[in-house]
């Protein structure tokens, strides 16, 4: 494993940084927090033109044939920029699930349109029981001739308010184990019976309640195998978590830099507050914390891209990164004092996203438990 990106990845990362500084200033980020759609269409289009939306897909589906390390280089910059919009839900959660499980026809139909910025998708997994376990899925899909009828409520569905399609994970059979009998349906959002309510959130990201009231979906719209969605879904989630960790790495790194910059400039007691050893300690702790995030994430990404088993590494990266990002941004607020507490500042963007990132796709506790299992306990 390398502790540095290769030349092309560095170019990608640097280019992305310049692009986002210009096209995604923090004023836009803040505007999008208030905006109902939460996705500036121009920005989405430009990212598509740069080949970033399809980066991770194979060329034959309109993609760039990139690997996981390329993706995390870009993700770091997205985190730094606090990029709004449905990259995670559309490109990663939905796109990767289709890429790994969809029929050739589904892949040919959908992936080029995601890469081209024409389609927004999301994945509806979690429900009111607030858990990423299989047992938490209660939304049912009942067979009726050539169709299935989906009934129930999904919660915390990202970006459903702008999605063209929703991949709904529903129970099609009551098996012995909760993991059995789950199926993924590609549902057109305009299908009668779907009601979407946008929820107000800490980070201004768009989470929705999606109610399926006897929604009719054709059997043809099943992605992957009937009753067997859970295993494949977990594999996709694993991959998405690596990318999400990289996004948090980028955010944490920026929060640290903002704190250090402020500490160098802010004069109190006739000297820069950054010369107080207490501030040195805060910064030093955060530096170690952020480096730990980086290396755990890089190791997970590297093992993944080499096709090696990496469940342990992913659990560690997600557990550590979510919590460390939060610690770093909280530290940032401590160092910035009152000025950081105003909405004009930027630290709060990281502080908000740190927490939502930590909670999304399983928090530290969840992943430490996963790790304990991996350790044979």
């Amino acid at each position: 494993m390398d502790f540095d990106y290769n030349d092309e990845q560095k170019m990608l990362k640097q280019g992305a940084r310049e692009f986002f500084e210009k096209e995604c200033p923090k004023s836009l980020v803040k505007q999008m927090m208030e905006d109902e759609k939460g996705n500036p269409p121009e920005l989405w289009k430009k990212m598509s033109q740069l080949g970033w939306l399809g980066l991770i897909y194979p060329e034959k589906y309109g993609g760039g044939d990139g690997n996981m390390i390329d993706l995390i280089a870009l993700e770091e910059e997205m985190g730094r920029a606090c990029l709004p919009g449905p990259f995670l839900s559309t490109v990663l959660l939905s796109g990767l699930f289709i890429l790994h499980n969809g029929s050739e026809e589904q892949k040919k139909e959908i992936l080029p349109k995601i890469a081209g910025g024409q389609l927004i998708l999301t994945l509806a997994l979690t429900e009111q029981s607030d858990s990423y376990e299989a047992s938490a899925v209660s939304v049912e899909a009942k067979a009726e001739k050539d169709d299935y009828i989906i009934d129930g409520t999904k919660l915390f569905v990202p970006d459903a308010q702008i999605a063209d399609y929703i991949i709904c994970i529903a129970r099609t059979k009551k098996g012995d184990k909760p993991e059995d009998g789950l199926t993924a349906f590609l549902v057109d959002r305009k299908t009668p019976g779907i009601t979407i309510t946008l929820l107000k959130t800490l980070a201004g990201d768009k989470l929705c309640e999606v109610v399926f009231n006897k929604v009719k979906v054709s059997k043809k719209n099943i992605i992957g195998k009937l009753d067997q969605a859970w295993g494949p879904l977990q594999q996709t989630l694993q991959q998405v978590k690596i990318a999400q960790c990289a996004e948090m790495v980028g955010g944490a790194q920026r929060a640290l830099e903002l704190a250090a910059d402020h500490a160098k400039k802010r004069i109190q007691f006739d000297r820069p507050i950054g010369s107080f050893p207490v501030i040195h300690h805060l910064i030093a702790n955060a530096m170690m914390d952020v480096d730990a995030c980086k290396f755990l994430t890089y190791e997970a990404a590297w093992k993944f891209s080499e096709g090696m088993p990496c469940a342990k590494e992913i659990a560690m990266a997600k557990a550590w990164t979510g919590e460390a990002y939060q610690r770093t941004a909280a530290m940032g607020h401590q160092v910035l004092g009152g000025i950081g507490y105003t909405l004009d500042g930027e630290m709060h963007l990281y502080f908000r996203r740190a927490k939502s990132g930590e909670l999304t796709l399983g928090d530290g506790k969840f992943h430490r438990e996963a790790l304990a299992k991996e350790l044979g306990m």
């Binding site: 494993m1 390398d2 502790f3 540095d4 640290l256 250090a260 500490a263 160098k264 000297r271 820069p272 950054g274 010369s275 107080f276 050893p277 501030i279 040195h280 300690h281 910064i283 030093a284 702790n285 530096m287 170690m288 480096d291 730990a292 290396f295 755990l296 190791e299 590494e313 659990a315 560690m316 557990a319 550590w320 506790k365 430490r368 438990e369 790790l371 304990a372 350790l375 044979g376 306990m377």
Partner: protein, 317 residues
Amino acid sequence: MLWAPGLLGGLTGGVQGPIIMQHGTPEQKKEWLPKIAAGAQFALGYTEPNAGTDLASLQIRAAKDGNDYILNGQKMFSTGAHNARYHWLAARTNPEMPKHKGVSMIIADLTAPGVTVTKLTTIAGDRTNEVFYDNVRVPQTNRIGPEGEGWNITRSALAAERGDLGTFPWPKILVDELIQYAKETKRNGKPLSEDPQIRQTLAQLSMDVSVLRLFGRRLNYMIEKNQDISWSAPFSKIFESELSQRIANQGMNIMGLYGQLEQGSKYAKLKGHIELAYLTMVVRSFGGGSNLRLRSDIATRGMGLPREPQLAMPVKK
């Protein structure tokens, strides 16, 4: 490594060989390298009663007299000095110079007349020493490197040692032992490893061990690429020393009342490792560079924060 005690391995760190290779004269190389290769033992003589973290305040005096230096003063915590033949000394050769500049590296013979070695016992039951020098003669040819360069030589040796701490094997060994213990040990009829709290603790500790491993590997990577490691080398040192203490402390909680049993005593588990670690690991937080001070180094060198202003009027010792 600066200390010998139980868990922490053998005597002295083998810093002398590389330093003599780098800074020694041809004669010194001829004299010392074969001795070192043959297993000559050195004790490290840096610390003094008034020079700990602030090592540059050391006072032991090496005054020139003909072709010799005459040594007078005291060293503290010279681990292994009661067994070692030689003392790897940082001594003041010029008291007129600013404190960092008047220090030289000298090899003293611990069996020479005027040297007294007395015992200090650590909380972990190991021996370290005070060493007193009373008009001890050392030939000037025993000075390694130019006069006044001792500080720079010492610093590079200490930095190497700090990086080296990243490869310290004990955190991983202890965590693996604790995981095994939790799987095999039942409390109230259930394995400890089924207790959710204990699962969380052990998972966290094993994550920490991974981070330590990655810090160490990154350091090697930076050394290979010739990058500046002055700020990243302490990452390993700080993280490892504090992790070792966490492991010992939380290990005790996992093992409950058994945790406190010493090695060799009846019912002792895991060879008493955790009890021993609980005491031994304390030294690592301030020895080999104090974690508190190193954090300031990291923030100033790595992130460009301003240094703490010096006192206009130094406090009298």
